[in-house]
Structure formats: C-alpha cells, structure tokens
Amino acid sequence: MLLGKSLTEILALIKNKKISSKEVIDYFLRRIEKYNPKLNVYLTVNRSWKPDKIEVPIAVKDNFCTCGIRTTASSKVLENFIPPYESTVTKRLIESSFFILGKTNMDAWAHGSSTETSDFGPTKNPWDLSRCSGGSSGGSAAAVSSYLAPAAIGSETAGSIRQPASWSGVIGLKPTYGRVSRYGLIAMASSLDCPGPMTLTTEDAAFILKIIAGKDKFDATTTTNEVPDYLASLKKKKKFIIGVTDEYLNGVDEEIKEAFYQLMKILEKLGHKIKKIRLLPPKYSISVYTIIQRAEVSSNLARYDGIRYGNDRTFFGSEAKKRIMLGTFVLSYGYYNDYYKKAQKVRTLIIEDFKKAFHEVDMILAPTTPIAALKLGEFEKYPFFGELMDVLAEPGAIAGVCAISFPFGLTKKENLPIGLQLMGRWFEEENILNLTYQIEKETDFLGVIKKGLKNYPD
C-alpha cells in the first residue's frame, strides 16, 4: 500500500488517519532491514522513535550533525562522533514533524562522486548492484531510489546532489548558495556547500525546500531573501525561455543527448521558448573548482588534528590526504596568488557568464552527467574522477545558482537512468521547480521512478 508513495502523499495519509506514523516508520525500518545489507545505504539507523509522536520519516546524509545520533561523514576519523548539537537543516525538519530515519552513506567528507571513498564501503546503485549510486550523496540518492526512505537530504558542493540523483534515477535539488543554512553540515568547501532535498516527486522537493530554506542566525552566509511557498506556486502554468548550449553537450553520451533533444521538443510543445546561448566551456570550471575546493578542504579538515574526536590523522583515507596536500600547496606563501587568487578571479568571470546568460533566458537545460552510472571501481582509473563526472554540474555550483536534476528515461543498452538538469537564476528555485513539475506532469519522467521501485518490492 505504501510502496512508492511520495512524502506528501504519506503525510496526507497520516493526517487523514488512514495510517499511523508508527506503521509508516515500522514499514521503512522493515525495508531497511531487508535491503540495506545489499545496498549499504545507511551507516546508522535510528530506532529511537517515540510512539506518541506524529512524524514522517526522512533519511539524512551523514555529514549533517544530528544531536545524539552518530555522525561520521563516512570517515573513520569521526567513527565514534556523536554530535552534541543539531544542524539547522535537521532541526527545522524535526520541528516540522520529521523523524530522522537514519544517516546515509557518502564519499568520506563528501570527497568523490561514487561513495567509493567512504570508509564504510560503497553504496550500490539500486538499478545495478555492480554500479555506483553516484556521490557524494550516493546513500541518500539510493535510499530514495530503492524506497528505503520516502525522501532524503543530501548536500552538494559541485554535483553531489545532482549527479547521484541522476545516476540513481531520482530528483535532486541544489538550492542557491545561501538559500539553505550550512550550520551543522560538516564543511567540505564552505563557499560552495549547499544542502538540498532528494525526492521521488517535484512536490516533495518543493515541500522540503520550503521547510529547510531561509535565513539562519547561525550561518552568516544565508540571505534574508523571502522564502516563497514553493509548493503552492508549482501549479501555476508559467512559460519560460529556456537556454541550451553546445558547450554542455561535448563528450556527452549519445543516448543522453537524445533524451535531451527529446525533452527540448516536449518543452516547445508545452509553449516554452528554447534559445541557443553561449556559455564558457565547463572545463574552466574544473580548474577553478579543484583549486578552491582543495584549498577550503585543507582548511576545514585541519580541526581533525588528533586532539579531539578520538581518531587521529592516520585515519584519513587517501582521497582526503590527496586533497589536503593539494589544498595546502595552493594556499602556500608564494603560490596563493598563482592559484587560489587566480581561481577566484576566474570564478568571478564564470558568475558574470551566468549573469549574462540569465539576461537572455530564464533557465538553462543541460544533461546532468556526461554518462550514466559507472561500474564500481572504475573511478580509480581517473585521478580527478569526481571532477569529470561532475563537469556539467560544476559551473553552476561555482556560480552558486540553483539547479535541479530529474530522471528522463533509461539508457537502452544497460537500462540505467538518465538525468537532465535545469539551472535557474539565483534564488529562483520557484521557477526550476515549476518547470520540473510541468515536465513531471507531462512525461512522468518517462516512467523511470516507478520502474526503479519495482525492483524493490515490500
């Protein structure tokens, strides 16, 4: 009865007393018991639900501090860390009657695009257990895709929500930088990190965003911009000018390109205008992102110096060590100007590039990833694997714009989900959600989400 029900549907059932919170939570705990050993989605399952409460479950990536619930960021360094405080995102969820069902696997410290850098083993792709679910929010994506949670919270620095959403066949929303508080989110690259929802429906994404967005007095980078009622505004049939650009199709798999062209036609049919634009090639964003992210990582991981948290620096995995070293190098005296400062300048150019584009169009449509989910272990062949897999997500992340990835069909050869994305103007989540909703209503994402759930019966 529950299988595949969206978060908002479950809420309605609970509200109408068709089902109790207990039944819902027990249902998901049963499913976790059944499928988690196979998929490795959850690192910690929360069984502390108090029966008197009316709550709806949600999965949370393991880099959000949850008071009293172990939080590891998938690193052995924090293997035994139980936060004494609640992140703003989870606090707002709890205050809105959400129950934290468990903490999901991720790349250690969010360093990666496959969850393979997790010190607790990779999360398998629910569509093909020999493949990655993507990353770094791979656990959250797989949790939703295999219905081990009706929805999940992920975090993105550059691609970490959109890419696993794309590979696992769910919706992933990366809000504008500053839209959602980072307080209590274990920092990866502070100037880019962004929490966001991963869901089965556009409605759920809008619903969750409304709860977690908005000014937080504990995060100085959150803005006071008003939080619109995303859910209510979904139903307005807005017409948009949608930009497309050849720069985002270079090296993209043919089947993914086909899906992209197919959607372009549907959008035109729906009365939207497609406009060709030019954007800086995404490859520049890789260099900028690599430098800025590594620099901030080296700084943010400095606190794990072995004095607190139990485990010392020898517990860092090789990916973290590589990033710390590169980041330390680019910030070193004499190199700062050549690397970090120059990267910041190019970042400004990339922001300007998006500003220019958004003068012409309301949003930009592009593939989310150049290819569908890779096999486990393949990332070792590429030293900058994450950057390559996230190449189409990085420019938007660097510019701080909002973006959403949604499934759009399956590859014919391997039956793997294809993800497309919409990038919108800063703080215009309302618009990208609105168009995604229109696409969902028109195409049902070509049935991807429903097909995925069929593999995981109760």
Binding site: N63, F64, C65, T71, A73, L78, F81, P83, P84, Y85, S87, R182, Y183, G184, L185, I186, A187, A189, S190, S191, K217, F218, D219, A220, T221, A295, E296, S298, S299, L301, A302, R303, Y304, D305, I307, R308, T328, L331, S332, Y333, Y336, Y340
Partner: protein, 456 residues
C-alpha cells in the same frame, strides 16, 4: 649605550574586548575565574559543521578604537583564516584579518616633560594597523599531562600593530600607559596586563649606524619577546634585549631572528623559538563570513568620546589648573568625572555662600591629587569637607599671644637679626610659633602678629 647603535622597537598589542558575547558565537566572553569548559558551544569548540557569525559590537568597537587612535577606517574589510596547529586552537586556524584590516595608519601622541627646564614636548608614534580576531583556548599544564580550557576560545581580540618608531623603553612604557588609558576611556576593555586582557609583544632590533649598508633603515632581523605581563616588565625586557643585542653586534655578529620569552624572576629573556623562516599561515578569505562593508555614514555614526589628552588640554585651558594635576586627574575617567562634578557644584556653592576663593578648580585638583580628602566620598560630602578645610581657623587669641611672647623671649637673636634687616629671620620665628600651636593657626596670621609686635 654606544652612539653607534640605535634600538628599533615596534609593538604588537592584543586587547581583549569586553563584549558580553564572544566574537563568533553567543557564549559569554567573561571567562575569568569560571570553571574550565563551561563557557563553550559548538562554534568556539570548533565542532564539525559549526559556523562563525561575527559580533557586530566587537566590529563597532574596533572601529571606535581605530578612530580614537586617529586611524583611517577601511570601507571594505574582511576576515581571513590563519592556519597553524596548536592544541588550544580547535579549528586548526584562527579567524583573523590579513590584508584588509578594519583600521590603518593611525597615531598616538604622548607628552614628554623635560624635568630640568619644565618644557613639554609632543612625541608621535605611528599605528600601522588594527585588526580583529578571536582569542584561543588556554593550556593548563599539570603533572598528569596538559589540559585544554576553551572558555577563552573565541573571545574578541583586537590586535594593534605600531610602526617601529620607538628607540627606548621609557617611550614604550609611556605609550602603553597612554594606550591603556585611551582603551579604558572607550569602555571597550579593562586592558589589564595581569589578567591578560592586554598583552604585548615588543619586536626589538638594533640598527648599527656604522653598518656598511648605507641605505639601511631597518635592521635585517628582529627579536620578538613574549609572556610579558606588566608595563614594568616591558621596560625591563626591552632594556635587557637592547643590552644583549648590542653585545652580540659588538662581536660583529648579527643576532638571531627569534622569539624569546621573558623570565620575570631573573629579569632576563630566553630563546623560545628560532624564526629563521617566516611561518606560512596559508591565509585565505574566511568563506563563512561575508566581507564587511562600512559606509561613510556608518563610520561617522561611531562617536569617539573626549580622550585623556584632550581632557588635559581642556582642564588647563578652561579650568586653569596646572598640567601636572590635570594629567593625574584625567588618567582615570571616573576620577576626571568626579572632579568635574565637584568643580561644578563647588563653584555654585561658593557663589551662593559669597565666599571668595582664588582658583577653586586648582584647589580641588590639589586636594584630589594629594588625596587630602578621599575621593570615595560623595561629591557633596567632599565639598563640605573641602569648605571646612578652607575656612579660616578659630584661634585661641590668648594662647597665641602667650606663645608669641614665649617665642620672642626665647629667640632674642632672631628678633635682633630681623631688626637689623635680615627679613628672613621672621620665618624662623613663625615656624617656632606654628610648631607650638601644632598648626592650629594660619602662618600668614602669625607672621602679621609677630611683625606688629616687633615693630611696636
């Protein structure tokens, strides 16, 4: 000191602000005497995911200090991360300011008095920059190991850096005293060296004037001295360093660039850490805090109160009191306020009572400075006591006559001397009478009486 060697001294001063909350979190910044690790939260403990939110008051107060020290306030400023590993630094970096400090290019003026000819002169010492940062935790070393107390972690700390304008320890001491008084006037810190709310590190080097490098303006090394907790020790440490470095230079050796500690018991400095290479703090802009932008209007809205030396000038020019008393009265703002309050009330009172008193302000100043009447009294009590003290004393006329008779009789020689024209002799007689009367009579009155009697 040999004329060939000129000390070059610059100062780094840290002032802990007494804002009620810490620099980047809501914790109380009053940690003194509190049990360890009771004034802490995720932010000042640097827990995973915690974020800093800057304290507006601390920023305003830094602007205020900048303005009081005649600095230019930068309209754009930002915080930066300064990385180094130390157990008392929970994030592995300190949030500080690197290339865009809040205030730059200021100066402090001190008044030097030449004792031999009573001439005053001004001396100006330049301030290079003033920036805001967070304090660290404290290590407590014990037999069983080292413990960390994070109560102090995140308390706002202002760093004031001077230009290397000093060449002797007296000027340094006077500068620091002046700075301390200014900071206390602003009400932003207790600036207490012993409690550690004011800390200072002098950088000392010696310029060899005979050096072959003609264009040399600054020596090619510097020695920083740490752990000094009183002005007296600052002077001692600097004097010791100057002597030590000159001795090394005389042997033709350049002293090592290093950080030295000060041993207050022995009065010597000792090597702590060699600093041959500049440390690399890997500064970069703090991404968790948006840049600070101050409009002209905003900077103007932060008002500097009357500062101690301005008060001295006003006391001298409008109250007509001497520089010495004016200086002492204005060292403590409470005392200065007390003085002005008494002065106002006293003047009203004497005009109501129709008393004629010459330069009443100077009299009050004298009484306050010499502590003849306690400044713990209320202003009204103080005035009553003062008036009592100034009233002509009731004299027992009979007793006075008796005493004068006795003194004149016992000191015939002095009387004769006076009559011969040695007018000074009368002061001896007055003194004798005063002694007998135990001071309960005015000298002027005694003098008149003796003159009258001798000239009869």
């Amino acid at each position: 000191m040999s004329d060939d060697y000129k000390p070059v001294i610059g100062l780094e001063i840290h002032i802990e602000l007494k804002t009620s909350s810490k620099m980047f979190c809501q914790c109380s910044s009053f940690y003194f005497g509190k049990s360890p690790n009771t004034q802490v939260c995720p932010v000042c403990l640097g827990l995973p995911g915690a974020l800093p939110v800057p304290n507006k008051k601390a920023i305003d107060w830094t602007i205020l200090i900048g303005k009081a020290l005649n600095c230019r306030i930068n309209s754009f400023s930002k915080f930066d991360r300064k990385h180094y590993f130390y157990p008392d630094l929970p994030k592995g970096y300190q949030i500080s300011q690197y290339d865009e400090p809040i205030a730059v290019n200021g100066q402090i003026e001190i008044i030097k008095k030449d004792k031999s000819n009573n001439v005053f002169s001004k001396k100006i010492f330049r301030i290079r920059r003033i920036h805001l940062e967070e304090d660290t935790g404290k290590l407590i070393h014990s037999k069983n190991g080292t413990l960390i107390d994070f109560n102090r972690s995140g308390v706002p700390l202002v760093e004031i850096v001077t230009e290397p304008d000093f060449d002797n320890s007296n000027d340094v001491k006077q500068f620091l005293e002046e700075l301390q008084v200014i900071i206390r006037y602003l009400g932003v810190s207790d600036a207490d060296m012993e409690k550690g709310t004011m800390r200072m590190e002098p950088n000392i080097s010696i310029l060899n004037k005979k050096s072959k490098v003609k264009s040399q303006k600054l020596p090619g090394y510097k020695v920083e001295v740490k752990n000094i907790n009183s002005f007296r020790f600052v002077k001692k440490a600097i004097d010791y360093e100057i002597k030590r470095q000159i001795e090394i230079l005389k042997e033709g050796i350049t002293p090592l660039q290093e950080t030295r500690g000060f041993d207050e018991k022995k009065g010597v400095t000792y090597s702590q850490r060699k600093k041959e290479e500049a440390s690399d703090y890997r500064y970069f802009p703090e991404p968790d805090i948006p840049p600070l932008v101050f409009s002209k209007e905003y900077i103007n809205s932060i008002k500097v109160p009357e500062l101690p030396l301005q008060k001295v000038e006003r006391y001298v020019s409008s109250f007509g009191i001497r520089y010495e008393e004016a200086f002492i009265l204005t060292r403590d703002k409470n005392l200065a306020d007390y003085f002005e309050n008494i002065d106002k009330k006293f003047k009203t009172k004497i005009s109501n009572l129709n008393l004629k008193i010459k330069n009443p302000s100077q009299i009050i100043a004298n009484y306050l400075v010499n502590k003849k009447i306690s400044s713990q009294l209320s202003a009204d009590e103080f005035i009553n006591k003062l008036i009592e003290n100034l009233k002509p004393k009731e004299v027992d006329k009979n007793l006075l006559e008796e005493v004068i008779n006795k003194v004149l009789k016992d000191n015939q020689k002095a009387v004769l001397d006076y009559k011969k024209g040695k007018t000074n002799a009368i002061m001896f007689l007055v003194g004798q009478v005063m002694k007998e009367m135990k001071g309960k009579v005015e000298a002027r009155m005694v003098k008149e009486e003796i003159e009258r009697r001798i000239n009869q």
